[in-house]
Symmetry: C2
Subunit: 272 residues, 2 copies
């Protein structure tokens, strides 16, 4: 197959994106990335619920679950395992920030090949960079996976070393918030701590699932501000997203951690 990616726009394989779409003009929309396993979206109720909630935060009416599921079933084979990205925008608009009187949200579903990771990511963990690009405080949009992601783009430009898997992003006060494409947990004894995302950051579905299920591992979860020194003094650091589930940090700056079973235990409760 020549193309590893393909897409469906508003349920049609013929459509592309209008140059007048407000997703392009202003990043006026939201998105999700999830695994299609054997033709079915993993954790669909959680992903759809988050899509609806994120749309509501910017006053977009989210397309129905049935419509999106139909798009997924058209784009993916019944036994296919791949990555689905869903983008919902406010749709086309006239020039200017004001919403059109009538909006027709646009939906795009994009297929990409499932990502394979080196075996050492699972057995030893991953190396993380500390990003210089700060996350701005935007309380009205904190937690929302919207399309205004230039900060993540700039942060991801900071390293080219293929041995670095992701970069930790801090807010302007130096608090740890997330990675460019993952949420973050730190562990002290039997307590997991993950940053408060009330001023910036994306509250991912996998983060929420770990919060909800950590008790299965005998762990208590706290949601609070985390400084960089605190992170570096943790027993371990875990990063999570919907594609790989969880990886342990092997190194951050000069700090190195020995492999433990925690990330594997978390992947197990997530069933990733």
């Amino acid at each position: 197959m020549a193309h590893t990616q393909s897409f469906i726009v508003n349920g049609s394989f013929e459509q592309t994106v209008s140059p007048l779409d407000r997703g392009l003009a202003y990043g006026d929309g939201v998105f999700r990335t999830l695994v299609m396993r054997d033709g079915m979206p993993e954790c669909w109720p959680q992903h759809y619920q988050k899509l609806v909630a994120d749309c509501a935060m910017i006053k977009i009416v989210c397309p129905s679950a049935e419509l999106l599921m139909s798009d997924l079933q058209q784009l993916f084979l019944p036994d296919e395992t791949a990555i689905a990205k869903i983008i919902i925008t406010r749709g086309e608009g006239e020039r200017g920030y004001a919403q059109p009187a009538i909006t027709n949200p646009m939906r795009v579903v994009i297929k990409s090949a499932i990502k394979t990771y080196p075996a050492t990511y699972f057995s030893e963990g991953v190396n993380l960079h500390i990003c210089n690009t700060p996350l701005a405080a935007m309380p009205l949009l904190a937690g929302v996976k919207h399309l205004n992601r230039l900060e993540n783009v700039l942060a991801r430009m900071e390293w080219t070393d293929p041995n670095i898997t992701d970069g930790i992003m801090l807010d302007e006060h130096g608090n740890v918030i997330e990675c460019t494409a993952a949420n973050i947990f730190i562990c002290f004894s039997d307590t997991l701590i993950t940053p408060k995302l009330d001023r910036c950051g994306i509250a991912g579905v996998t983060r929420q699932r770990v919060i909800d299920m950590a008790h299965l591992l005998g762990l208590t979860v706290k949601i609070e501000h985390i400084t960089l020194p605190k992170l570096l003094s943790a027993d371990e650091v875990i990063i999570t997203n919907s594609i790989y589930g969880a990886f342990q940090a092997k190194s951050i700056l000069q700090t190195v951690w020995s492999p433990t079973s925690l990330a594997a235990d978390i992947r197990k409760i997530l069933k990733v």
Copy 2:
């Protein structure tokens, strides 16, 4: 003519936007809005220079002025007066924030009908809202007219009253920064003050032209932080953009200003 808008993508009338474009995915691009008068772009050197500078801030190679001018000449008739919006994105990308090894920036030029304003906007001024949506501090991107504009979208949702022309946006400390679609100047005696845009806001071409030419009106320009009480105590408040040039504020909250000739004088030096 059925459509008031039309567009050209990468120099072609047949192309639309790829669903994989990073402008849609992340707002990974910049834009400009300017007047085409009698088929020619107004203040083209300034607009093109700003486009190049904004692209450089996010490490996109801006298409050449010749290429963009060719797009404009294809889209607009030789004697046409209308509004041109130019969008430059990083182009298509694979899934994930990392830049592709080879990027092909995408360019879109969109035509819209020239906007006509009520005569009272010119003779008396305009009513302005004070927005509750704050502008987040993003020093790395301050001044840049990039495609991450959800704050402006949310701010513009705050009013539906057609008698309000624009809304003033403040930073998180309550400093006046700009309007949703204009820059702002306040006047005390023979001094114009416009906000510092080192932490947020868009540094518009018309703002810069007023700064450069105010001496023609015997005015001195200061660039400094402006609090809301200071703005409300000004002799007058002027908003500027590339479409209408300059309008005086007639009212903001309970504060009302009598018409003076300043906005007309500024439009005269701008030749709008």
